[in-house]
């Protein structure tokens, strides 16, 4: 078994580390890059807490080796907003009580953001499908669905309203 030096772009910043091939992407993010916003729950692909984006698509970081992500672009919850302000989706989670303990929240956010970006129309059914792979034991999901709808309204282009 040999160590490999790999570089992964996380939130537009290159992180370089010497890792064993068995290093999971989730551990690379948390321990090598020090980005602890990504949470690890079940570590076998069931709970969705560790969801991050790989080249824009939601993926489970516990089901990917860091070395598989070598040279690719990862986005974590820390990269959701590039200013000190919350992303509208984060703000809506706060306003609609879309979280209690918050353990699952980063995974939900990283699953929902690409859904909101790619969906032709935001619907309750669509939201529920997008988060079907994320488990939350606090909210019962309804307040998360509400938060997405609030955020979708917030993020809708304002042209019509201003005219």
């Amino acid at each position: 078994m040999t160590l490999s030096t790999i570089t992964i772009d996380i939130n537009d910043q290159a992180y370089r580390a010497e890792v064993e091939p068995r290093r999971l992407l989730s551990d690379f993010i948390r321990e090598d890059a020090g980005l602890t916003g990504t949470h690890v729950g079940c570590e076998h692909g069931v709970c969705g807490a560790c969801t991050v984006q790989l080249d824009g698509a939601p993926v489970r970081s516990c089901l990917m080796l860091a070395i598989q992500a070598e040279g690719r672009s990862v986005r974590t919850v820390e990269g959701l907003s590039d200013s000190p302000e919350f992303h509208p989706l984060q703000k809506a989670f706060l306003d609609a009580h879309g979280l209690q303990c918050g353990y699952c929240t980063p995974g939900f956010l990283m699953s929902l953001e690409p859904y909101m970006r790619d969906a032709d129309e935001i619907s309750e059914q669509g939201i529920r499908e997008a988060i079907a792979g994320n488990i939350c034991r606090c909210t019962g999901y309804q307040s998360i669905v509400d938060a997405v709808q609030i955020a979708a309204n917030e993020m809708r282009p304002q042209e019509d309203a201003e005219r």
Binding site: R22, G48, L63, A132, G133
Partner: protein, 297 residues
């Protein structure tokens, strides 16, 4: 848990992957998307000495149609197949099956070939391959061969791919003209492993009678289960509710699913019958005789 240590090689060409397989043999495992393999590594249910990463082999990532046959490269992501208009236009059953396959976070990484090669009878793509009579092309250093779906799925989590072979392509022949297709599944939560499921293709003859019906049951046996007795029962029959109900009953009577904490054998059998009837009914409603001009949907 974390995986046990292993060596890792990223293949840059399919031939290189075959070369590595030939040398490492039983000790090695191919890694494509890893959405079945990595959980097994994390649980240490699998402890390969070498992982050969074929996930970046662009040569094996494609979806095209040649002479009516849908050809899917082994490393094509499940999400690509989900979005493929080519696939959903000719094989609506495939699109339905993929909708049941895990979650978006899995489909964005998981490959079509990986799921087929994993040969889980509770998984959607092996069932779709069985009912659509797909043919799998596998290769080793000494050449290629094609395997029918019937021969490909050997038993639970075991396919006919030899230790030095790699799956290259899944070829799905055109469905008979006007054939109705359906895929239904039941699980307690969407994305969980199915408790039961049925995939059906119903072609009709010029008189509107069943001609070459195909039925595959999910989670019913160690392999995707072609319900041949039920298929024969429908041959030459009009697809009326009574005939379809009899076929569904026959299909369920052929199987003896294993009991586990999620459901007993008799429950699973009853579920198989219900789902098979639903799938048959849906496919029959879509089916049209081949010589009739189809009007809308």
């Amino acid at each position: 848990m974390k995986p046990a240590p292993f060596d890792y090689v990223r293949a840059t060409h399919p031939d290189q992957a075959l070369e590595l397989l030939a040398t490492a043999g039983d000790e090695s495992k191919l890694l494509a998307g890893g959405q079945s393999l990595i959980p097994m590594l994390n649980f240490r249910l699998a402890r390969p000495a070498v992982l050969i990463d074929i996930g970046r082999l662009g040569e094996l990532s494609y979806i095209n149609r040649q002479d009516g046959t849908l050809r899917i490269g082994a490393t094509t992501r499940q999400a690509q197949l989900e979005r493929s208009k080519l696939a959903s236009a000719g094989w609506p059953l495939l699109a339905r099956a993929i909708g049941w396959l895990a979650h978006p976070q899995i489909r964005s990484v998981g490959t079509v070939g990986g799921s087929v090669a994993h040969a889980d009878p509770a998984a959607e793509l092996p069932v779709a391959c069985s009912v659509l009579e797909a043919r799998m092309t596998v290769a080793s250093r000494s050449g290629k061969r094609e395997i029918s779906a019937d021969d490909f799925f050997v038993t639970h989590l075991t396919s006919a791919i030899e230790a030095d072979e790699m799956l290259l392509e899944i070829a799905i022949p055109a469905a008979p003209d006007g054939a109705g297709q359906s895929f239904v599944e039941y699980s307690r939560r969407h994305g969980d492993f199915a408790l039961g499921g049925a995939a059906v293709v119903i072609p009709l003859d010029a008189q509107g009678r069943c001609a070459g019906v195909r039925i595959t049951l999910m989670t019913a046996a160690p392999v995707p289960w072609r319900a041949r007795t039920a298929e024969k029962l429908l041959e030459g029959e009009l697809p009326g509710a009574q005939q379809l109900a009899a076929a569904a009953k026959a299909a369920a009577s052929e199987i003896s699913p294993t009991s586990d904490i999620h459901g007993g054998s008799s429950y699973r059998k009853a579920l198989a019958q219900t789902l098979c009837f639903q799938a048959l009914t849906e496919a029959a409603a879509m089916a049209t005789p081949p010589d009739v001009t189809r009007v809308g949907k």
